[in-house]
């Protein structure tokens, strides 16, 4: 079918044959052959009747047509462009040829020009040579000939040149002509090219149209062929279907009859069976109804039972709910209580914390107050002491003044009233001032002791001499001074006191040992001294250095007064003894008995290696003692210890005036009092006499007045006479008293 459709080719495109003259045709024919072969192979492989393959083939057919058209058009195009470009190529070739020619011509021309130049140069040289020859000629004819020949030669030269110029001009003209010709030809060629282009365009258009037509035709053919094939197939299929339907219809009819017969038979059988089953079932129904009745009865019973049970359960449930609600309430209540308790607890905690805080605060405050009080107390103590001292001093001063006065008075009494010699009593207390206690404090510090100890080695001898001297002289001087002046006495007294305080306690250890001990300490206990201090000390003198060292050692060990130093010394000695005893015991067990007591106050007080142990033991002991002492001292009252001394002191003051003197004084007083009374009486009497005298003078005045008045004259007895008499009497009286007084 499809092949039939493909066979009628368009008239203008003949089937390509392998034997064709045209090469393209041959190629196309071969290609077709190959394609056909390939198709055949495929067909063999896949088997016939595959519609897909047919389609593919048909597609390939149209495709082939398209390819063919394309090929043809391309061929046409290339041919056309070749045709058109032929002109250009020809022009190029011509141009190239022309250029070659031009080059060649130029080369020739150059050669010609060069040759010409050479020849003309030769000729010119010849001419110029001849000029020299001509100059030699003397005969005019010859000269003329020569000149003629010269002109001829020149003419030929010029002619040559002109010829060349003409030739060149000719060439130029030819070139111009050629250029014009070329232009013309180029114009022609351009025209031709345009013409050919137009032609090609035309032919291309026509071929395009043809090819389109052909391609369309091939596609149409393909389409028709396809349509035909499909229609035929369709028809065949329809027919087949009709046949099949008729057949199936007849089959169906026969089957229907068959089935109807079968149905009839089945219906009869079923009716019979139905009846039978119906009777059976009715009996069954009766039985079942009976059973149903029974079941209903049991059901009723069961229902009642269950109802009762249900009721009971309901009741229980209610109870349960009640109890549950109660429990719940209880739980909530307890929860509340718990919460309250928790709140309370937290409150309590807070309160206690606050309390604790406040109390700690209070405690701190009280501590602070206590400290404050302590400070106050200390301050008051100091203040009291000060005040006490001040009061003491004031009173002492007062008392001293009183004593002085009393002594003065005593002296006056003795010297003036009694006319006796007076010697002042011994007054040691007058030199002193201030309270006794203050002086007791002057206990020398450890350092001072140490200095004194160390300083001793230098002044030892002198000091001891001095002391001896003092001790020898002191009684004599004291005796003399006592007699002479109070001040000297006071000086000795003070000295005695100081010496007394300095050597209060008896020492068990000699000062020498102490000194050695200190030196040892200085050497061995260097670790107690700070490094910095050591550095600072290095430039100082040796004694000062050791002093400073001792100071720091004492401060480290807690030794701060002389006593401690002596204690230390004693301790060391004891320690040494103990050690020696131990040693001796050991030695006694070993060798024998050596002389004891040699080293009680021996040269080597203690071995330097043992010092550390000794120090350790001492500090432990010393601290214990010190602590206990501190506790004791705190308890002591400051006043009690001083009272008896004070009383003594004051009393010594009060006893300045001795009782014997007092008795003298009392008797003297009595006598003086008597004398005084006499004197007072006399003074009274003197006043009285004064008064009487005044009265007397007044009376005299009055009398005189009366006497001298005129009234008197008239009187019989003049008063003057009376007065005269009275006056005499008074005078008498006065003289009497006077005498009496004496």
């Amino acid at each position: 079918m499809s092949q039939n459709g493909n066979v009628p080719q368009p008239a203008d495109v003949p089937t390509p044959s392998v034997l064709s003259d045209n090469r393209e045709e041959r190629i196309a024919a071969r290609r077709l052959r190959i394609v056909a072969r390939n198709e055949a192979k495929q067909r063999q492989e896949q088997g016939e009747g595959s519609s897909k393959e047919v389609e593919k083939r048909e597609d390939a057919k149209s495709q082939e047509q398209v390819d063919r058209s394309k090929l043809r058009i391309q061929r046409l195009q290339t041919d056309g462009t070749e045709l058109v470009s032929n002109i250009q190529v020809a022009a190029d070739a011509r141009e190239s040829f022309r250029r070659d020619e031009l080059e060649e011509a130029r080369r020739l021309r150059l050669g010609k020009l060069e040759a010409e130049a050479k020849s003309s140069l030769e000729k010119f040289e010849e001419i110029s040579k001849r000029w020299t020859g001509a100059r030699l000629r003397e005969i005019p004819q010859e000269l003329r000939d020569a000149l003629n020949s010269q002109t001829q030669l020149c003419a030929t030269l010029i002619e040559d040149k002109n010829k060349l110029i003409n030739e060149l001009q000719q060439e130029l003209k030819v070139c111009d002509d050629r250029y014009v010709r070329d232009l013309k030809r180029q114009a022609d060629e351009v025209d031709l090219m345009v013409e050919r282009m137009e032609e090609q365009v035309k032919s291309l258009i026509t071929t395009y149209r043809e090819e389109i037509k052909e391609i369309q035709g091939s596609f149409d053919q393909e389409y028709n062929a396809l349509m035909e094939g499909d229609l035929k197939k369709w028809e065949k299929l329809r027919k087949d279907r009709g046949d099949k339907e008729a057949e199936s219809l007849s089959q169906r009819i026969s089957r229907v009859e068959e089935f109807e017969a079968l149905l009839q038979k089945l219906r009869v059988e079923d009716a019979e069976e139905y009846n039978m089953i119906k009777t059976k079932l009715e009996t069954d129904v009766q039985v079942l109804q009976q059973q149903l009745q029974q079941m209903k009865a049991t059901y009723q019973l069961n229902q009642e039972k269950l109802e009762y049970n249900f009721q009971v359960l309901k009741k229980r449930d209610e109870e349960n709910t009640i109890t549950k609600s109660q429990q719940k309430r209880k739980i909530t209540r307890l929860q509340d209580v718990l919460n309250n308790l928790k709140i309370k607890l937290s409150n309590q905690e807070k309160q206690t914390r606050e309390e604790n805080q406040s109390q700690t605060e209070e405690y701190r405050r009280i501590m602070h107050q206590y400290k404050h009080m302590e400070k106050k107390k200390r301050r008051f103590a100091v203040m009291d002491a000060q005040k006490f001292e001040e009061v003491w001093r004031m009173n002492e001063e007062e008392v001293k003044a009183l004593v002085g006065r009393a002594l003065e008075i005593d002296r006056l009494i003795y010297q003036q009233q009694l006319g006796l010699d007076w010697s002042p009593p011994p007054l040691p207390f007058m030199q002193r001032s201030g309270p006794i206690r203050a002086q007791r404090q002057a206990r020398s510090s450890a350092l001072q002791t140490a200095t004194s100890m160390l300083g001793r080695d230098v002044e030892e001898e002198e000091e001891e001499d001095d002391r001896k001297m003092d001790e020898e002289e002191s009684p004599t001087t004291a005796a003399t001074a006592e007699g002479k002046s109070g001040e000297a006495g006071v000086g000795t007294g003070s000295k005695a006191i100081t010496t007394g305080s300095g050597t209060e306690k008896p020492r068990k250890v000699s000062q020498k040992t102490v000194k050695r001990l200190l030196e040892l300490l200085c050497d061995e206990a260097g670790f107690l001294i700070e490094n910095k201090l050591l550095k600072l000390l290095s430039p100082l003198e040796k004694t000062e250095q050791s002093l400073m060292k001792l100071d720091s050692i004492f401060s480290a060990m807690g030794i701060d007064n002389e006593e401690d130093i002596y204690q230390l010394a004693e301790f060391f000695v004891k320690f040494k003894q103990q050690q020696q005893q131990q040693q001796e015991e050991e030695e006694a067990g070993a060798s024998g008995v050596s002389g004891p007591g040699d080293s009680v106050e021996g040269e080597d007080l203690i071995h330097p290696n043992d010092i550390l142990m000794a120090l350790k033991a001492f500090t432990a002991q010393h601290h214990r003692i010190r602590n206990s002492q501190a506790a004791q001292r705190a308890g002591e009252s400051l006043v009690s210890c001083d009272v008896c001394e004070d009383v003594q002191y004051w009393e010594s003051m009060a006893r300045v005036i001795s009782p014997t003197k007092l008795t003298v004084w009392t008797s003297l007083e009595k006598a003086l009092e008597k004398y005084h009374t006499v004197l007072t009486d006399r003074s009274k009497l003197l006043v009285d006499t004064q008064k009487l005298r005044q009265q007397n003078s007044e009376l005299k005045m009055l009398l005189h007045q009366y006497v001298n008045s005129r009234v008197n004259a008239e009187l019989e007895i003049p008063p003057t006479q009376v007065i005269q008499i009275a006056r005499n009497d008074v005078i008498n009286n006065q003289s009497v008293t006077r005498t009496m007084k004496r």
Binding site: R23, E24, I27, Q74, E82, S85, N86, V89, A90, D92, A93, E95, S96, R99, D100
Partner: protein, 453 residues
Amino acid sequence: MAETIGAILMDPPVMRRNLAADARKMRRIIAEDPEWSLAVVPLLTNLCLEHIVSNFEAKPMLDDLLPSHKAYVLEKLPPSLPLEVTANLISDEGYWKKCCMERWGLGDVTAYGNSWKRMFFERHLEIIIDLFIPDNTDPKTVLDMVPLCKNYVKKLSISQLLPPIKDPQKADDDDSSDTGSDSGFDGPSMDHFDFGILLDKLIYLEELHLVYGVKGCGMNFEWNLFEFTFRDCESLAKALKSCKTLRVLRIHQSKVDNEKCRLLVSYLLDHPSLQDLDLSHNLIGDRGARAVGKLLNRSRMRSLNVYDNQIRGAGAQALAYALAKNTSLLTLNLRLNRLGDEGGQAIAQALTKNQTLVSLHLGANQLTEPTAIALSQALVQNSTLRSINLSCNRLGVDGGKVLEEGMSHNGAVVDCDVRLTGIQQESEVCISQILRTNQSKTRKKQTQEPNIK
């Protein structure tokens, strides 16, 4: 006349109103006027739009309008509006088509990337430069155009550049060409338009075609009308360097000799975008060819045309040396030079190493048999070359046979021009047969590739 037409076009409603007095007023349908509507009183929008159109020059308003109104205004706008107003405002192709049609008649817009606007501006600028007379014309006439057209000009095809003082077109009218030529000779410079002021401003310029010569001088021919001075060359070269977008440069028929070629190349070295250089119909010799060879490997050139020059063997060797190392050049045209066998062999040897060149034109180069032998060897090895033109060379019978043999081992060449080479008919037929098979092969490949894709 044109003005009146313009006026009528500019304001047709007015015209219609005026004409409404005539008999047409009575007609209800006017079939010949598509704008006609029965409404006697035009709509306010139409009136406004007409007003906008009539006052567009004073107050251009376009982008604010609705699209339909914009279309209406664009349709009504006359092409005679000054470019200062329209250049950067109107982008509608219809308007510019109108402008082009009015000015030049029908034109092929496909040559301008299907953009009428580009066509208008390119041709407008080309005309301005074509008619630019140095010293007489104010450079401002060109520079004024720059801000208007710089966004649209991609290609400049300058068909003539006038020398100073003398305007040949005017000379045609005024005659006195002799005096003009004399003065031109004596003048201080024969320099043409300086592209330095223009090229760096045209930011989208891609193609530049130049002819330093006068078009249509006719019988007023003078040699100095076709003078490409050294200073011209220098200014052009600098301008080209400043134009970074340039892809195609053509300088035809401009008497570019060795020195100018070297100068141009020295400025074009390492140009970022140059792809196509065409220096045809010039006077480039061997030294110029050497310079071009240097340029080949200092740029990304894809095409080099130096046909109709005077390149000889030495220049061809230099080009061949460059070609052997090059990896970008696709087309090389050396038609109508004087390479000779020396150059031809060198190029053929370069082809054995080059892997990119697709098309090679060696027509009319005085090549002979030795070159044919070398080329046949190159063809055996090379598999990228598709087109080779050897026309107008005297390869001779033996050369043809050798070439035939070389072609029989090659499967890539689809076009080989051996016309007028003096080879035998048989070898020519053979070669063409081989070409056919190669063509069909490539065609199959091409058809297969899209199928695969």
